[in-house]
Point group: C2
Chain length 338, copies 2
DNA sequence: TTGTAAGCGTTATCAC
DNA sequence: GTGATAACGCTTACAA
């Protein structure tokens, strides 16, 4: 049973020392062209690839980064991971993906597992799990960055939109249309400071206009289409006054509200304005098309990866400024009926 | 600048040898309880975590697996990765994700990068890139499994549905409804044997009924909603005869066709039957709801990971039988108008 | 420019 | 049950 070839085998075949094999792959210009050729040919013929553990040990670099996300079941995190993966991959770094399922204990286990695998840097979605995780990374001098929300007051580096401000703006848009009875259907706030900030933004903007949101018009739950339908049903069942506009935590929920509204003969946007979040491709194709808020998730992931790559080069780069969300007005919002 | 603690530091603090530290974490029952406690306490106080590269080198196990997928932008692959990640994670194995973008050269680079990182096992979506990749893994004795399509004739282990047979059945369902003019809108077949098999299944079933598919009724392209809309427009623009049923490569395309049909006043399913694929959550909520085909992607990923875990234990497990896709008839299909 | 040799941090074999 | 010690495969001063 032949075992995998090692650098010394390549060296033997090429008639050079092991050091030259290493140089051929890591510092090619330090070895003469013709001898480089010989080494490459030998490696090729043996099917040799550097051994990750060996080289990680000697080099003190694993060439592996980690991403901690809540779940891959949500499309926005898949997009996020795709962006990270691409940038890291271009830099010769592989990406380990691990999930928390919004559970602090699992987040901690995942982080430890990644650190035990020797990841050089980590991206974390949100700062929901408190200090232990960040202390752990800091103690091991592993650079990290928090994504999906810019927070100027955080003691950690953060990248993303200002969730509070963005939802303030969304709300102000509805206020400018004359809506005074506004509802919201949001993902759970537990272990999710981003959602908390968004809800806060809505409440703050309403309060600034001397308004409030009735408890029965605020519903928390999963981000599914079905949940959107059920939530609208629940809001209507709660009786009058009924909101004239509903802010949805994402476009799936908004699509559900739209669907339920149509099933009930409620005219959108005449009887009810609906606003989504994330500008999913589907938003353009619903009837009517959904007003939504576009966040450039891909650049957010890229920024995060580039920030960490700079840190790995030993730099202390400035954080990029907060990203700007963009309100995309389509047909699902209109002035309040008077 | 204090460097990360090593096992020997823990040993010193606990007043034991380094070997005992290792045993405490890897073979706990081989060390006396009270001394185990001491070691754990010492490790805790120093914040020590085993060093991945060191232990990978000594153990000849990286505890890392790899997944090669076309892209994370497509939700079905995100679901797939989520399932893999979960099973591997429960087994203490981290997952590196890398993508091919349907490009053989990039697939090869990604595979090499994963192997260089020492992955112990790899899942590959489809067998589109030919032998080089599989030869590479085989030469290094890295177990692998191909997902997203069961192929009894493959010389590699495969897991998934039989794509050919599944689309034969879909087509036979439409034939049983009396449809004789059937169109298809599919993702590109290039570098995608799964799509090729699906198209083959449709053509085969039609041929068995003495029918064929007109070239103008077969359209290949991306899997977006917009592409579905454009494709229906193109098929209609090609003039009579017009198909009475269209098979779509996935539910996004089907949703696009549905949307375009409504925009043109074409009644679904009376004038046109539409059938999707993947049973996306949206399929239940369109008007009318979409007939689609459900494939249990999560179990497919789990099966793949479990198969590889068994291989890593040194077993030679049987492959699971082909998975069964399930036709879910909803409101978008009906008997052909006569 | 190339070779020699000393790590890198852990695990596993072998004594005790 | 515990402790020395020799791998594990590579990189990198340092020497030639």
């Amino acid at each position: 049973m032949p075992r995998s070839p090692r650098a010394v085998d390549v060296a033997k075949v090429a008639g050079v020392s092991q050091a030259t094999v290493s140089r051929t792959f890591n510092e090619p210009d330090k070895v003469q062209p013709h001898i480089r050729q010989r080494v490459l040919a030998a490696a090729e013929s043996l099917g040799w690839l550097p051994h990750g553990a060996g080289s990680a040990l000697a080099r003190r670099r694993s060439l592996i980064a980690g991403a901690l996300i809540p779940t891959l079941a949500n499309g926005i995190f898949a997009t996020h991971v795709a962006a990270l993966q691409e940038v890291f991959s271009d830099a010769g770094i592989n990406l380990i993906v691990s999930v928390s399922n919004h559970d602090p204990a699992q987040a901690m286990r995942s982080t430890q597992a990644m650190l035990a695998r020797g990841v050089e840097a980590i991206t974390v979605v949100g700062e929901d799990f408190g200090d232990p995780i960040f202390d752990l990374m800091a103690a091991r001098r592993v650079p990290y960055v928090i994504t999906h929300g810019f927070n100027a007051n955080s003691r950690h580096p953060t990248i993303g939109i200002d969730n509070f401000k963005t939802f303030q703006e969304i709300t102000n848009y509805l206020l400018s249309l004359g809506h005074t009875t506004v509802g919201m259907i949001a993902p759970p706030q537990a272990n999710n400071a981003r959602v908390e900030a968004r809800v806060g933004g809505v409440r703050d903007a309403l309060a600034a206009a001397g308004l409030g949101m009735r408890p029965k018009h605020f519903i928390e739950g999963p981000w599914s289409i079905q949940f959107g339908r059920d939530s609208l049903a629940a809001i209507l069942a709660a009786g009058s006054p009924t909101p004239t506009a509903i802010i949805c935590g994402n476009d799936q929920i908004a699509f559900g509200v739209l669907t339920e509204a149509r099933a009930r003969g409620i005219s959108i946007p005449n009887d009810l304005s609906i606003i989504g979040f994330d500008d999913d491709p589907i938003a353009q194709h619903t009837t009517p098309p959904l007003t939504s808020v576009k966040v450039d998730r891909a650049s957010m992931g890229q920024e995060a990866a580039l920030y960490l790559l700079a840190r790995l080069r030993g730099e202390m780069p400035d954080l990029p400024p907060p990203m700007q969300a963009k309100l995309i007005v389509r047909g699902s919002t209109a002035p309040a009926k008077r």
